[in-house]
């Protein structure tokens, strides 16, 4: 994959962020460098991904037979709850923003660091504290409420360690809020000369939208879980019908955040894809302004749809109609993105490198996830498929097929920048294909299971559902392999990989105009931006073919 690099044999930089502050553990734990904090996050979210992944594997093995093969119903309930909590709050939500966003946003806008480096470090520590609470809950009695913590099950009836878990998520919320706050301020005030709003990479736009959701939604779930935790600790009655409280109110408050939270997970992945596609098609992205605006539109409209999780709770019919209508509206900006990405490929110069495969995989899986959302937003269908495996399949297509594919793709794309090394081309291509196939085999059968009526969160099921469950489990084992592979070869490449130049693909963003790995201050001189985003034609510095074909007359259709 280095064959396109036109630069002469490249000497890696002698001083960069990984070594300049020394390798001592203290230099990492007290660092305020956004790049090092990103790596700290990389390690910690990987740990949670691994924990959540182990739970997922056990869930799938358990469901091989109708009666369940592995654990008791009680343990099974804990498994899916802890899988959800670990994956959603401690992996998916921080993954792309806190790892890739943290690493790249300052570099992409030409800044030396985020606006508040100490707060950035603080938010990692808050994440660790929140994470420890949750791990404490997992290891002392576990958690069996479902990641949604519906009351009064969670606040009164559950016998598991609910209190430390809700406190952990409450604490972790502030990590998310501070990250979002830091990004928004940074994007507003730290842009390099010439970096106007409409020259921002789309990755930055999508993180801006993500940060909006983080700062506007997270406080609500924080207070909600705090109230639920107080209710449990002190026998208060906010959401307990026996004392006059209302469990439906909990659901309103919870989904006010937790629906937009889906967009916290997937918007950054859309940002990653919006970077990868133009780079590997070597042409400006089609419909830049529409993609940028659709990110903001998703963030705003995403806040108006939450009660579509409550169509069968006895919600008022009028409210249900309004929320269903608004849910259809939020599908449009996502569709705009998919169409524009596809259109970007047209007449491109497309390479088949691993990041591109991940990005295209993302488009395919996200499209399936998105359109099955249309089924669930549909009131008449939702009364049948609500709370069934259809829902499970749908949001795994969005979160695993979408967010995780984007995250892994982004890691592959920026890995040379982060570590200065290239990984094996053959292995990475293989892993991308394995992931795509394994994923579909795992989750596609679940759509059918759901429509057949298998409810979610079942530790045992009627025998007629077995065939599809076995298929799903088979897929999961392939999927697990697909995740272990990149973990292995990426780690291997850190030491043994080929040295990457500053711009191996080559790509047009500012982050590629500095060394790989970058120096602590990101740029030796503050860059000045005088080009439009993703423009390959006016960038002689990229060293691409001088006589590259120009747009013919009919090209501008």
């Amino acid at each position: 994959m280095n064959n396109t690099s036109p630069t002469p044999p490249y000497e890696p930089p002698r001083d960069h962020y990984l070594i300049s502050a020394g390798g001592h553990i203290r230099s990492w734990l007290l660092t305020t460098d956004h790049k090092r904090i990103a790596l700290l996050y990389l390690i910690s979210v990987t740990v949670f991904f691994f924990i959540g992944g182990v739970f997922a594997t056990m869930i799938r093995i358990h469901l091989l037979t109708p009666g369940g093969v592995l654990v008791t119903p009680e343990t099974y309930n804990k498994l899916f709850t802890m899988h959800g909590v670990a994956m959603i709050f401690f992996f998916l939500i921080p993954s792309i923003p806190a790892v890739l966003g943290n690493f790249l946003i300052p570099m992409m806008i030409g800044a030396k660091d985020l606006a508040f480096p100490k707060i950035n470090l603080l938010s990692w520590y808050i994440y660790l504290i929140g994470g420890s609470f949750v791990l404490y809950s997992f290891s002392t009695g576990g958690l069996d409420t479902g990641w949604t913590f519906y009351t009064p099950l969670s606040s009164i009836y559950s016998n598991s360690a609910v209190t430390p878990a809700v406190l952990g998520i409450f604490i972790n919320g502030f990590s998310s809020i501070l990250t979002g706050l830091n990004f928004i301020v940074t994007i507003h005030t730290m842009r390099a000369p010439g970096m106007t709003w409409f020259r921002l990479p789309l990755f930055v736009w999508s993180h801006y939208a993500t940060s909006l959701i983080m700062i506007l939604g997270t406080p609500v779930v924080a207070i909600t879980l705090l109230l639920a935790g107080l209710e449990r600790m002190f026998h208060l009655g906010f959401f307990n019908p026996a004392m006059g409280g209302d469990p439906i109110l909990f659901q309103h408050l919870f989904w006010f955040y937790s629906h937009p939270a889906v967009y916290i997970m997937v918007l950054p992945a859309m940002g990653v894809v919006s970077e990868i596609i133009p780079t590997f098609a070597r042409k400006p992205i089609f419909g830049y302004t529409f993609i940028a605006a659709s990110s903001i539109a998703i963030a705003v409209i995403g806040f108006l749809v939450w009660a579509h999780h409550m169509f069968v709770t006895g919600e008022s019919t009028y409210a249900a109609l309004a929320f269903s209508f608004l849910s259809y509206l939020v599908a449009i900006p996502s569709a705009i993105k998919v169409f524009n990405w596809t259109a970007t490929l047209y007449k491109g110069s497309i390479s088949w490198d691993a990041p591109m495969l991940y990005a295209l995989g993302f488009i395919g899986l996200f499209t399936i996830g998105g359109i099955t959302g249309l089924f669930l937003a549909c009131l008449g269908l939702d009364i049948h498929i609500h709370d069934t495996y259809f829902v499970i399949a749908h949001f795994h297509y969005i979160m695993v097929g979408g967010a995780v594919m984007g995250y892994v793709g982004g890691l592959h794309y920026w890995w040379p920048k982060i570590t200065g090394r290239l990984y094996s081309e053959a292995l990475s291509t293989f892993a991308a294909i394995v992931l795509f196939l394994g994923f579909n085999l795992t989750f596609f059968p679940q759509f059918i299971l759901g429509y057949l009526g298998m409810p979610r969160r079942y530790s045992s099921y009627p025998p007629e559902f077995q065939v599809l469950n076995v298929l799903s489990t088979a897929g999961a084992s392939i999927l697990a392999l697909g995740y272990l592979l990149p973990m292995a070869y990426l780690s291997w490449s850190m030491r043994y990989g080929k040295v990457a130049g500053p711009n191996p693909w080559p790509a047009t963003g500012l982050e590629w105009k500095t060394d790989s790995p970058p120096p602590t201050e990101n740029f030796h001189v503050t860059p000045v931006v005088d080009w439009e985003p993703y423009d390959y034609r006016n960038r002689p510095d990229l060293g691409l073919a001088a006589g590259a074909p120009l747009a013919p007359a009919h090209g501008d259709d």
């Binding site: 119903p73 519906y150 439906i248 491109g348 008449g380 429509y451 747009a551």
Partner: protein, 327 residues
Amino acid sequence: MQSPLPIYPEQASNFAPHVDALLLFITGICLLFGAIITTAIVYCFFKYHRKEAGAIGIVTYEDSRLEVAWIVVPLILAMVMFAWGATIYVDYRNAPRDTLDIYVVGKQWMWKAQQPNGLKEINELHVPVGRDVRLILASEDVIHDFFVPAFRVKMDVVPGHYNTMWFRPTKPGRYHFFCSQYCGTNHAVMGGWVTVMEPTDYAAWLSGVSSGEANPVAVGEKLFAEKFCVTCHLSNGTGRAPSLNGLYGAQVLLADGSTVTADDAYIRESILQPNAKIVARYQPLMPNYQGQLTEEQIFALTAYIKSLESQPVPVTGSGIAPVSEKK
């Protein structure tokens, strides 16, 4: 019963064909869009594969007509999906008149159903084919959800709320029902079977099995005396509290001038929280029965009050609407 890999469950209610048709419609549209996008990606992926190392792509300029087209067309299709789904939902949320009402109570981890004649079932539900059935759902602890895949309907069972659902079975047979809202340890086994029977079989079943079972009207009547309701709610309307004859389903005039329909929720509220709605021209004297009656006793009392409907209402001083409230 079915082929080894069916795509959808049996259609056994009035909603099932509509929901399945809607499913096919949305699936068709989505497949079409999916096919277009997939074809475009695969085509470009091979057709424009980079041949020379240094080649760059040809710039294509964005076209606002194209952008508007792919905003407006999906929007219109989405609105069709919305409207179709909404009609089914509105139908589902508004039960027809004259339904067969069955009370269903969910508790960790079982379902109790009570037929109109008082026959009680556990994790079983018998209904006649072709009749509009309404389930009145209550929970004793956490949130549950009553889900019958073959009928394509479900509804959450929320403590502190009465939810209702309705359907008209169209095909005799035995169908699974599930709890589909996670409710704790044995959530997965909190289910059972709906048996749809021919009306004659249903009637026979009711009378056959129910002998020896207490009739809820009778139980309710007994409670009505035991709990001293009868001392104030005289049937001739001369008591300290309004007569309950003909109350169920009627409009009740309240002290604040508003009216309310005397449905299950109203009767329940009036038993548990009598002073919430005071009937016009009566005093708030009735003690509250909160915590003194089980859910099933309330159902029985309600059944008894309903049965009073058919008795002749003596002419009393009561005004426009059958005025009623227990005091």
